[in-house]
């Protein structure tokens, strides 16, 4: 409970800081909504020309996008620090977090907020509500599955950003890997087969971020729900282990900074 209160307090503080620059906040949110909408327009154009590809239609891709956008928005909105970890490790900026009693990894991830994430989340929820014609049960499942997918996004971000403990600079690499995950997650699963599919359920967990949640939204299946649960716990374990092992290699940047 203490951890929940701590996280809530940080998120609230980050939100208030962001809202201090109201115009910048709303333009970032609106910009991201438009960015996401453009992708849905692409799919609309595509499915207008080809109404079905291997059983996939416009509604299916809308659900994929709504889950991914909501999950990614929540991830960068609530735990944006996970996505900037590599640069902070490279600059030796973790000292502040190491001397405080709170769990270091939790403190690091909630200490930053990417305001554009709220645009993603807003877009995802709106698209699901207006284009996917959900029932109340669908809506409940959507919220739960988005939170799980957000947890996997954050875990993946922590794991790939923690590579900076070994490589020094890993900002570009981690950005590319996260972008790669988003790219795979926002296309129909049926496009991928064989070894690529194995990769998408392990190294690049698009299967857990999008494919399984979407299939559960279509049709509840206890077996797949269990796989998703195991995948989520596995993602968190990999993230915490990578960060904890990497932290032993951390070197301070002896940075003096004022935090107000």
């Amino acid at each position: 409970m203490n951890v929940v209160r701590f996280t809530g307090a940080y998120v609230w503080a980050n939100l208030r800081i962001a809202l201090a620059y109201r115009a910048a906040f709303f333009s970032a949110v609106l910009g991201m909504v438009i960015n996401d909408a453009i992708w849905v327009v692409f799919w609309w154009l595509f499915f207008t020309r080809f109404p079905s590809v291997d059983g996939y239609g416009f509604r299916d891709i809308v659900i994929v996008w709504s889950i991914c956008a909501t999950a990614f928005g929540l991830a960068v909105g609530l735990a944006g620090g996970a996505f900037t970890l590599a640069s902070r490790i490279a600059r030796g900026e973790l000292d502040f977090y190491l001397v405080l009693p709170k769990p270091v990894i939790l403190h690091l991830v909630v200490s930053r907020m990417d305001t554009s994430g709220w645009g993603d989340a807003l877009f995802g929820v709106a698209v699901f509500a207006f284009l996917a014609s959900p029932t109340p049960m669908d809506a409940v499942a959507f919220v739960g599955l988005s939170l799980i997918a957000a947890t996997i996004f954050v875990s993946y971000a922590i794991a790939v950003n923690s590579l900076a403990f070994w490589t020094g600079r890993a900002e570009t690499l981690s950005d590319q890997l996260i972008f790669g995950l988003i790219t795979f997650a926002t296309y129909p699963e049926k496009l991928f087969t064989g070894a690529v599919k194995v990769v998408l359920y392990t190294v690049v967990p698009a299967g857990f971020v999008a494919y399984i949640p979407v299939s559960l939204l279509h049709e509840w299946d206890r077996g797949w729900a269990l796989v998703l649960l195991v995948g989520t716990i596995g993602s968190i374990s990999v993230a915490v282990t990578t960060f904890t092992v990497g932290l032993r290699r951390y070197q301070s940047g002896n940075l003096t900074a004022m935090r107000a």
């Binding site: 438009i34 992708w39 154009l45 080809f50 690499l173 972008f179 296309y187 496009l191």
Partner: protein, 281 residues
């Protein structure tokens, strides 16, 4: 656009020659800079490779499911090479609007304006170097992937050269548009969301992911009336075509858009410069 009197000899020709030397100097410096950090450029190839791989799977499934050899006049191989060309244009973009935005907000612009050579010329030289290196690298990565996945397509030397020339003009037009967006920081706090919208709208209406020939008729007509199609779809279509049909229309659209956007940004720059205030510090 800053004063160059005393640097470039006499008259418009002298000023233009001086500007060209400034652009060349910045181009050479930034080209060396790009070469020194080729690893960073190469990392950018990862996402291009992922994107092309995913789109190749999508179009292969589409052709298979439609049971067609050609769609909108394109074979599967042509669609994949089309994507290589359009992706190379898009992924080589240089987001220098953010730099201008920062210069305006921090006041660094006031210092930059008094440097010899001109603020815009400096940005253009740097832009061209970074853009061309990225473009060449993207073509290389995309070309290798396309060769491996669908093999070569017949391309004539003349359409190839004219298509690349059209891409160069399109890059110049892109520079002018991004410059205009960056200078918007004189009036609004943050131009990053406008830049984001510009890139996304140009991606869709430029035919990045779907050739415009496959758009629904109404949307296709709108897309063709805007400059984005000439910037992205046009050069790619030209390279893959067997002749030079529509080449004059393409260059007319690019040239007209460049003149219009150039005029507007020139005016915007003039107004913006009058708003520069030095705050000391």
């Amino acid at each position: 656009m800053t004063s160059v009197r005393g640097h470039g000899g006499r008259g418009v020709v002298g000023i233009a020659a001086y500007r060209m030397r400034v652009i060349q100097a910045y181009f050479v410096v930034h080209l060396r800079d790009q070469m020194a950090y080729l690893g960073e450029v190469a990392l950018g190839g990862i996402i291009l490779a992922v994107f092309l791989f995913v789109l190749t799977q999508l179009w292969q499934a589409t052709f298979r499911f439609q049971g067609a050899d050609t769609l909108g006049g394109y074979t599967l191989a042509q669609v994949i090479w089309y994507l290589v060309l359009t992706e190379a244009f898009i992924t080589s973009r240089v987001a220098f609007a953010r730099k201008i935005d920062t210069d305006v907000r921090t006041g660094d612009l006031a210092y930059a304006l008094v440097r010899p050579g001109g603020y815009v010329s400096a940005h253009f030289g740097a832009y061209l170097a970074e853009r061309l290196v990225r473009f060449a690298f993207a073509l290389l990565v995309g070309g290798v992937l396309a060769l491996l996945s669908v093999g070569p397509v017949p391309v004539g030397p003349v359409p190839l050269l004219v298509g690349l020339a059209a891409s160069l003009v399109a890059m110049l037009l892109d520079f002018v548009m991004v410059l205009g967006i960056g200078l918007g920081a004189f009036w609004i706090e943050d131009t990053s969301s406008i830049y984001l919208i510009y890139t996304r709208v140009s991606m869709i209406l430029g035919g990045l992911l779907i050739p415009i020939d496959l758009f629904p008729d109404t949307v296709g007509a709108i897309a063709r009336a805007l400059p984005f199609a000439a910037m992205i779809h046009g050069p790619a279509r030209l390279v893959l075509s067997s002749g030079l049909a529509d080449v004059s229309g393409l260059f007319t659209m690019l040239g007209g858009s460049l003149a219009l956007a150039g005029g507007l940004v020139w005016w915007e720059y003039g107004v913006a410069r009058r708003r520069v205030t030095a705050q000391g510090g």
